[in-house]
Amino acid sequence: MSWILILEQSLNGLQFGLMLFLLAAGLTLVFGIMDMINLAHGSLYMLGAFFAATLVQATGSFALGVLLAIPATALAGMLLEVAVLRTLYARDHLSQVLATFALILIANEVVRIVWGSDLQMTMPAALSGPVQLLPGMPYPAYRLLIIGVGLAVAALLYVLVAKTRIGMLVRAGASNREMALAMGVNIQRLFTLVFGVGAALCAVAGAMLGPLFAVQVGMGESILILAFVVIVIGGIGSIRGALVGAVLVGMVDTIGRAFLPHLFGLFLPPQFASAAGPAIASVLVYLLMAVVLFVRPQGLFPARG
């Protein structure tokens, strides 16, 4: 185990964490502002990936395809909000859970009917090779691009939330919905907009991860749970919490899977280490969540005081 390997896995963890952040950011805002639990968020991620894979192939350009998939997914998200989710804000959590779970079933089948169970998505040829990051440390160029895009979108989101009027309303809404209402905000339009932004972030994550993972039906379901873990760790409604939580989860998950079996081998008999290592590694982020829950039940950065 060399330090280069550690660095490499840390970059992988950062890359995964940033993509998780894109998912968690939209989700946490919807929670925070509308007190709405939306399981269908993962479906938007899936939809974004399918849009991107299709459009990349149709246009013959990776960049163009991805850039077109983002507004397309945003539009789908806003349509969903207007058609179904809007009526759920005032309903109890159980209704929200069931309705959005039903949306997952519907979305999966619709995608299956339109596209089939999976699609191929290839990364641009120019980025398919490694770059020499440090002497003796090659790193896949495409993964660097994901990190770059993740950081850029996170910065953009920060500016949007911290510096603009809309962002201020969103923050006000996340910490105190009544206050936002009293300020005369057109809440309905703000909600639709937030959903659009959340869907766009999903599309970015889905499109960027498309060439690495399979673009397939159900791809949004396991990553959705990780996004929940991120939100529980970071605190509902907090963008900053989502960023910290996402990078933490991405790092812990990636590094744990890479090194924990080896680490266990150092002080456990091999037959135990090879069994316990992968098992513990696979649940490490959930144990992290449990610890955060016990120490800070409201998450690391609660939006409400």
């Binding site: 159980l94 859970v97 309705a99 089948e109 299956r112 529980v232």
Partner: protein
Amino acid sequence: MNARAAALIAALAAAVAFPLAMQAADQLFFVGFASRVLIWAIAASSLNLVLGYGGMISFGHAAFVGTGAYVSGILIAGGVTSAWIGWPAAILASAVLALAIGAASLRTRGAYFIMITLAFAQMMYYLMNSMKAYGGDEGLSLTSRAALGFGLDLGNEVTFYYVVLAALCALLYATHRLAHARFGRVIAAIRENETRAEAIGFPVYRYKLICFVIAGAAGGLAGALLASHGKYVSPSLLHWTQSGTLMIMVILGGVGRLWGGALGAVLLLALEHLIAEHPIPWLLAIAPNYPQHANLGVGIVMLVIVLYAPQGLAGLVSRKRHA
């Protein structure tokens, strides 16, 4: 005799007569199918205990069903085939897991609680996936069902059916007793107004946790039966969409109604079976592949029910009765 009791006796008589009729008609497949439906009825009824009676939106119930299935399956694979050891062990393991998950997640409320139960259940899914010793993602095949003794052979589909039916009846009767006992009153009060329940002196957290554990234990029983039924256990039993399916059953049948879980399981599984195995010719002509997309129908029906009939089908029926 009132209408309720008459309906109850009729339903019970039909359930008892069913396998005999199928046996006579040489349709043993349906006895096995009916056993599976009844096991899911137990699982959904156990979820209804925590969701409907306790008002806790637990989205990780598959973890308890799955844990029960694995504990019972691992024991059978290890040569301990006695149901008298395997099933209590499954129930106990699920209860302990529910105690741990409940103790952590019941400290939170609302959306947090939903997400945390969901996440811990998914943790169990990944844990079983990574357990190579117990089959990993391929699951665990068993050579036999559990052994009950007393000359009862669970390998016989009809015998197995009656054992499952007895378990379901026992669970529903116990639920009925519980709901009308002191504990049930407290749970109902907490569901209705948690703040006030605490303010008149009930240790709310403790009662919710007990309810959560009872439901988890009953889920473990369903899991143990499921392991024997299919002679197979796999991590997909613990996947979170399985929890969602259980929730759909409860909603379909009626939240917080004694028969809600059972009714919902029967409806959903029968519907799935009909769509997959008995396609409607004219629909097949328009959409040749529709049986493969049964979930589209389930999703749309669910969405419509949630948006327009929040009390579930049972709610629709009783509303009509009152009207």
